[in-house]
């Protein structure tokens, strides 16, 4: 493995709550190569978003830290573009203007006005939103708005693209299309991607590595799974590829056997439907997490609903 591009070392994250500090993350270590596609997967409330926010610079780790290309990350910046869970577009700007705001900010000096315009249109076409340039976010569907959010992040030419469940709100067809586009773009630009997902298939299809996190509080990296499927990957061809099925099985087993709570030690009933139920299972997991500590850990901290 070459020198890490992005490195999280010994990260601890504690939030102040009225009942004392709440330890969300403990001893998180992560090394990411340039051009690597890493998925973070884990049950709700395990601090995936907290990890992402620390890399983004939106949160400061209580201990340890994050280093990108030899520089410590302290503040947010466009080289670590974030695609937020909800699209986070400015409702008063049109689709075009939303991307323009980012492009103007990042490429004000390096691109001419015409180049910037082409670049904005290029990115919007990439996510199939070239037809709605003058629409406001309130006039398009949530899925379309999320596509614009992705276009805005891509338009910043980030060296690390941070995605917080970017496709969660999209319909299956759009999601598949965007996953394919994302794979292509990521290979072309060789950009580093960290993506939070609940969708096991999505994680296996897109990632070079899946980082599976233990249940919070004091969550940390549980297992890592290197996905050595050849690229470019084709979802149809992979569907019954034995390697693919094996990886999928490994993630499911981590999520629903090793990190499930004691009451749910039985294996999932129907693995093929597992990803569709991921959100549901997730919600259940977070509800029950209040009563149960993660396997092998005891905790004094109040397992409050973590706001990560």
């Amino acid at each position: 493995m070459s020198k890490p591009h992005l490195e999280l070392t010994n990260v601890q994250m504690a939030f102040d709550t009225p009942g004392g500090p709440f330890i969300a993350l403990e001893n998180v270590d992560l090394k990411i190569r340039k051009g690597e596609f890493v998925s973070l997967i884990g049950h709700s409330g395990c601090g995936k978003s907290t990890v992402l926010n620390i890399v983004a610079g939106l949160l400061q780790a209580s201990r340890g830290g994050c280093v990108l290309d030899g520089h410590e990350v302290n503040t947010p910046g466009p080289e670590r573009a974030v695609v937020f869970q909800n699209h986070s577009l400015m409702p008063w700007l049109t689709v075009y203007q939303n991307v323009e705001l980012a492009v103007q900010q990042v490429f004000r000096k390096s691109m001419s006005k015409a180049e910037r315009r082409d670049w904005i249109l290029h990115n919007l076409n990439l996510v199939n939103m070239g037809h709605a340039l003058d629409k406001r976010p309130g006039e398009i569907s949530g899925g379309m708005a999320q596509r614009v959010g992705i276009a805005r992040a891509l338009a910043m030419k980030p060296s690390v693209l941070l995605m917080d469940e970017p496709f969660g709100a999209l319909d299956a067809l759009t999601r598949a299309h965007l996953q394919d586009s994302l794979m292509e773009i990521q290979q072309d630009l060789n950009s580093t991607v960290i993506m939070i997902t609940h969708d096991v298939d999505e994680a296996v299809l897109l990632s070079d590595r899946i980082v599976m996190m233990t249940n919070g509080p004091a969550a940390t990296v549980g297992e890592e799974l290197h996905i050595k499927l050849p690229r470019p990957r084709n979802r149809v061809a992979l569907a019954d590829h034995p390697e693919y099925v094996h990886y999928r099985q490994a993630v499911l087993s981590f999520l629903y056997e090793k990190q499930s709570f004691p009451a749910k030690h039985t294996p999932p009933r129907d693995t093929s439907g597992a990803d569709n139920n991921a959100d549901e299972t997730d919600a259940a997991a977070s509800t029950f997490a209040v009563h149960t500590a993660p396997s092998g850990r005891t905790t004094q901290a109040r397992p409050a609903e973590e706001n990560a």
Partner: protein
């Protein structure tokens, strides 16, 4: 018969006109008619009922200046006020032409002579007073906006500053214009000393009182709107590393525009109310002075004339609010 007409129309008229006709006939459905009735008819009925009640009740109220005026007297007096206004205008025009002629004659006799140009010395009419009041209220309101919006943005952006000034806002907000007025008058008299004043002192006093009383709703709404910007959008701004000014201009301000405008509309309403009170008390020119003068005058027509002023004040206040609404629709993204 109508169908016959329509078919004939359709054969003769160009496509555009046919489409227009169809859209008109579509609009004339029963439901749309009912909507139009609700929009026009019911308010008209309300006004008519009010006028009827007023007409019947007014003569029952006897005052030392005669019976309370009914709608007919008020209408007559409004005509009278207009008449006085146009007479005054004619006299003013005559005065100006006579003055010019006289000056020309003087200059013809002696080109070096100094000629004096005086403005017409007649008393301001009702309509002059309306114009004065509108000017004062707009000046006061603009000044209040210029203070309240930037200050509100700072308060909304900075929690510490907000905590520091919040008690002051809470204390000064409910103060009546009448309490401010003597203080403002004294301060203006003492500080605005100039041989060639750009503004009348009375104008300044009224304007500052209006400002002091009307800036609070805008200030509070702006600060609340700024503090309530969606945290996700703030994160976007942070990731983009927007400079402070770009952040305020492109994120904070547009986001709080709807709240700011709600505040501005309340402020303008208050400004108009405060102005009338201030003018009455301070005897500074404007509608308030008109009302007070008529009251002091105590003729048999005074009450009718005051009633004309009351209606004019209400109508102007309504118009001001409508204008603000139009501006809001132009400016705000959520309208």
């Amino acid at each position: 018969m109508t169908t016959l007409n329509q078919t004939r129309n359709q054969t003769r008229l160009p496509v555009q006109a046919q489409l227009w006709l169809r859209s008109v006939s579509d609009k004339l459905t029963a439901r749309n008619l009912a909507g139009a009735a609700r929009q026009l008819l019911l308010p008209a009925i309300g006004i008519l009922l009010f006028l009827g009640f007023w007409h019947l009740a007014a003569p029952q109220v006897q005052t030392s200046l005669g019976a309370f005026p009914g709608p007919a007297q008020v209408l007559e007096q409004s005509g009278q006020l207009w008449q006085e206004h146009s007479d005054q205008r004619d006299r003013a025009a005559k005065f100006v032409t006579m003055q010019e002629q006289r000056n020309e004659r003087i200059l013809a006799d002696n080109p070096d002579a100094e000629v004096r140009i005086r403005s017409y010395p007649g008393a301001p009419t009702f309509f002059d007073q309306i114009v004065t009041s509108l000017g004062t209220v707009l000046a006061g309101f603009v000044l209040a906006t210029l203070i309240a919006v930037p200050l509100g943005i700072i308060i909304g952006l900075n929690r510490h500053f907000s905590a520091a000034v919040n008690p002051l806002i809470q204390i000064f907000k409910p103060v009546s214009p009448l309490a401010w007025l003597p203080l403002v008058t004294m301060v203006v008299s003492a500080t605005y000393v100039s041989d060639d004043p750009m503004f009348e002192k009375s104008f300044l006093t009224s304007m500052i009182t209006v400002t002091l009383c009307s800036l609070w709703p805008t200030l509070i709404n702006t600060s609340v709107g700024v503090a309530a910007v969606n945290p996700d959008l703030l994160n976007v701004s942070k990731v983009l590393q927007l400079s402070f000014w770009t952040h305020v201009r492109r994120v904070v301000l547009p986001s709080s525009i709807p709240m700011i405008f709600t505040g501005l509309r309340v402020s303008l309403g208050i400004a108009w109310m405060v102005l009338i009170a201030a003018e009455m008390l301070a005897q500074s020119p404007g509608l308030g002075k008109f009302v007070w003068d008529e009251f002091q005058n105590g003729s048999s027509q005074s009450l009718s004339r005051i009633m004309v002023a009351v209606l004019a004040i209400g109508f102007i206040g309504f118009l001001l609010d409508r204008i603000m609404l139009l501006v809001q629709k132009k400016v705000a993204w959520n309208e």
